[in-house]
Amino acid sequence: MSIRLVTVLLALCVLASGASAHAATPTPPADDAAIVHALSRLAFGARPGDIERVKAIGLAAWIERQLEPRRLDDRAVERTLATLPSLPMSIAELHKEYPRLPARDKSADPQMTPRALYERPPPEKRPIRIVAEMQAARLVRAIESERQLEEVMVDFWFNHFNVHAAKGEVKWYLTSYERDVIRPHALGRFGDLLRGTATHPAMLFYLDNWLSTRPDFTPRFGPNRGKRAGLNENYARELMELHTLGVDGGYTQKDVTEVARAFTGWTIDRPRDAARFVFRPLVHDRGEKTILGLRISAGGGQGDGERVLSLLLHHPATARFIATKLVRRFVSDEPPPALVERVAATFRATEGDIKAMLRALVASPEFWAPEARRAKIKKPFEYVASAVRAVGGHVDARAGFALARYAAEMGEGLYGAQPPTGYPDRAEAWVNAGALLARMNFALALTQGRLPGVTLDLSPLAVDRGAPDAALERLLVALLHGEASAPTRAVLTAQLTNPEIRRQTPDDRGPADTDVEKLAALVIGSPEFQRR
């Protein structure tokens, strides 16, 4: 007992030390409800037995472990992911293994349309397979990984630095983008994410910077020989609007143009092969630039873009913008301003140390406040993952493919957000008639065992089949942790008299048999389970 107490206190000290000296750190509560809350925000919901496991090590210690994901053994999930061959491949290998159009060899009918040619290879060799494997991997990890907070942050940062898989070359770059830039820094430093995305082929391609040149550049050879090229503002604008300052961060159209000039020459070497970042001085605009009042003298070369990134990283609007998004993800659709200010202060004090900001978040009373509990509507991805976890389901790669399709039907196709804003993190974007039905249908498919690759054993939940009231109570505890509202409880209790839920034996004398699967679907499709 006392040893555990010491552990908790030590962990709290660690928490407090990271949270900077801006606010006295209150002790996070550690009751069951608080653990459920933490699991719903810092993980993709509780699995059976998770509350006890967290309690055993202490909530504060569990949070600290989640902040150090490399120390968590995740070999089980790695074994599942090993069945998805594209995940470890380099961009060059992906181009080779999933060619955009297979060569027209002798066996190809010369009349074949590009579409027919594309469909010649088996499905597992087509480029779209790269994206499907990425989607499957994200769901497998969200459900099975021990490194839950890291997974939450991968989702968060990918969405923040969104790229759209369907745009041109992006699908061959996607694997590396998430594996080599987003994931390694998901709990690291914001500046590394900023620099990593700025120089990755996926972002260079998605926001067109790879094509942006000084206004007077005319190529002397190649397909565009003799045609004047010039500036492309796309990346410059979204870099400030969406990645750093925020749309109200105080920049002007002039700043957009100047930033675009600074990034001329940041392009992709051998885009259809190994695809690496390269700086090409020939197309760079060497002239002087003035950005947000800062003069960048002529001749800075690649240093121009680096100075811009540094300027944006240290701009107070960036700290504020990132803090707002973090608080919206972890606390509420309407971020409490005082908390945003504290997290922004942590950003400024630590140069965007993500762990420090997360510590500030979980050390805040706002994070644990009653009004924050179940205040967020789960995004489709979160809903799907949390439902499979709640019923103790295990998944293989095949399940990942199927689950990704369900999330897409609810409106969140992974890697499928076309605009650079990514997907919204607010309730009203996800709650609508068609999507709600899709959620209910998913709940039915899950509990009725219709999802390929999902291994589900509902028998621990169904031990009370013969006693409907006890069966329902068990479900409410397991899936909603007893937090069902009175009306929901009443509706579900009334269902117990439904002959299709409570089935009598033919002679009407034997014990009742409760359709626990359908009852579980109702709970997972209920208003309460849509929240986290």
Binding site: I377, L437, L444, T488
Partner: protein, 415 residues
């Protein structure tokens, strides 16, 4: 609020009778008059997300600064025998050749264009500009609801759960609010599906959301099940496209196909919304052929199929297209265009005074451009939206749909 609607219907009947006296009226007018009381007027909004290049969609080939600003992406001016060039509209503007199927609607005066239309706000952010256009409040982010949702709630008529519908996986900002608008991606899949006893599951879910809790989830849930029941009765998805209409398989084509099904099934649809994306052509926009041409071809074919499918019923329907802003007048370094200001919006259907390009043309000479680079806005999008919503939905004071706006001059796009 019901008065203008009755008046309009009375006029419609009267008009048909008057026509009958002099000559055999077009069949659709007679039928429209007969069914006017059972049928509602429908406004279909199509949002071109990503900022469509209005200068390529409706080409101001007669502007002497047009071609010079766009060395590789300008659309060729109409010329006899050149099927690949712009399709002439009025001697100054032409339709992009990929929109050629719409020319028939122009000829029959059911298609109008409002050019140099856009927002008074200066933003070139897709997200903010879409937000402003959908909330109907340029520059104000705190507006809680969308302008189409506000339009829907001004209607006191007996409401159907299908009064306001968005086709797509999410409810657009324009329809968020108290209108009880629903969104759905597919009519076929709009129900509870279970291996057995789906009815029991449906009833169970319905009761869970039927509680009188006033939050987003419960409200949406209640409307959902009302809609599911109604759609089951109407069986709209059985209606195959009429008049040999062939919809593209694209998302826009399939959305419009299903909107037509809802209209033909008489489920009480008044406002429909869908969007089409892929307009953010920073690179390799193309001219008569290419990336933008492919998007426009789909756009034109989808709209054409829709009008063909609805046939006579189009007399009750207006399609209004919109986009958050236009694109730079000059092409950029990648034979594309960057974010600009004004664009062109299309209006087609019954009651449209078509065959005309509305709005003052500001010109493309450099000194006429907004911030020296973009087509200037001469028609506030709110003026167009207000006029269309007012007439088509019978809203007496449509200016009130746009808080903070005092109204503008009438365009006269509707008869």
């Amino acid at each position: 609020m019901t008065m203008p609607m009755l008046t309009r219907r009375a006029l419609l009947k009267g008009g048909a009778c008057a026509l009958a006296a002099v000559a055999a009226p077009p069949r659709f007018l007679a039928r429209a008059a007969l069914a006017a009381d059972a049928r509602r007027k429908v406004l279909v909004a199509v949002f071109q997300r990503g900022a469509v290049d209005g200068l390529s969609m409706v080409v101001p080939y007669g502007d002497r600064d047009y071609a010079g600003a766009r060395a590789s992406i300008a659309i060729r001016a109409p010329q006899a025998g050149d099927a690949g060039a712009a399709v002439d509209l009025d001697g100054f503007f032409g339709l992009h050749p990929a929109l050629a199927p719409l020319a028939a609607l122009w000829q029959s005066r059911t298609l109008a264009v409002v050019h140099a239309c856009g927002s008074p706000d200066t933003t070139r952010s897709h997200f903010d500009a879409q937000d402003y256009m959908e909330s109907g409040t340029p520059g104000v982010k705190s507006t809680p609801d969308g302008w189409l949702a506000r339009a829907a709630v001004t209607q006191p008529s007996p409401t159907s759960p299908f009064r306001a519908v968005a086709l797509g996986p999410t409810l657009p900002r324009a329809l968020r609010g108290d209108a009880g608008a629903i969104s759905l991606a597919s009519l076929d899949r709009f129900d509870v599906r279970a291996t057995s006893e789906a009815a029991a599951a449906r009833q169970g879910f319905e009761s869970l959301y039927a509680q009188s809790v006033h939050d987003l989830l419960h409200g949406t849930g209640r409307e959902t099940f009302e809609a599911v029941r109604m759609l089951k009765r109407a069986n709209a998805s059985r209606l195959a496209p009429a008049n040999n209409a062939e919809y593209p398989r694209s998302r826009l084509g399939q959305s419009l196909r299903q909107i037509a099904q809802l209209i033909r099934a008489d489920v009480g649809l008044e406002i429909a919304f869908t969007d089409a994306d892929g307009w953010d052509t920073h690179v390799g926009q193309g001219a008569e052929q290419g990336q933008l041409a492919a998007r426009l071809r789909d756009f034109g074919a989808s709209l054409t199929a829709f009008t063909q499918d609805l046939g006579d019923r189009m007399s009750d329907v207006i399609v209004l297209t919109m986009s958050e802003f236009g694109r730079t007048v000059a092409e950029n370094g990648n034979r594309g265009t960057d974010h600009g200001h004004a664009t062109a919006m299309l209006l087609l259907g019954g009651g449209v005074r078509g065959g005309k390009v509305y709005g003052r043309w500001p010109g493309l000479a450099r000194e006429r451009l907004y911030e020296g680079r973009d087509l200037a806005v001469t028609t506030d999008f709110r003026a167009l939206f207000a006029e269309v919503a007012g007439r088509q939905l019978g809203i007496a004071n449509p200016v009130s749909l746009f808080p903070g706006w005092t109204g503008g001059p009438q365009l006269g796009v509707l008869s």
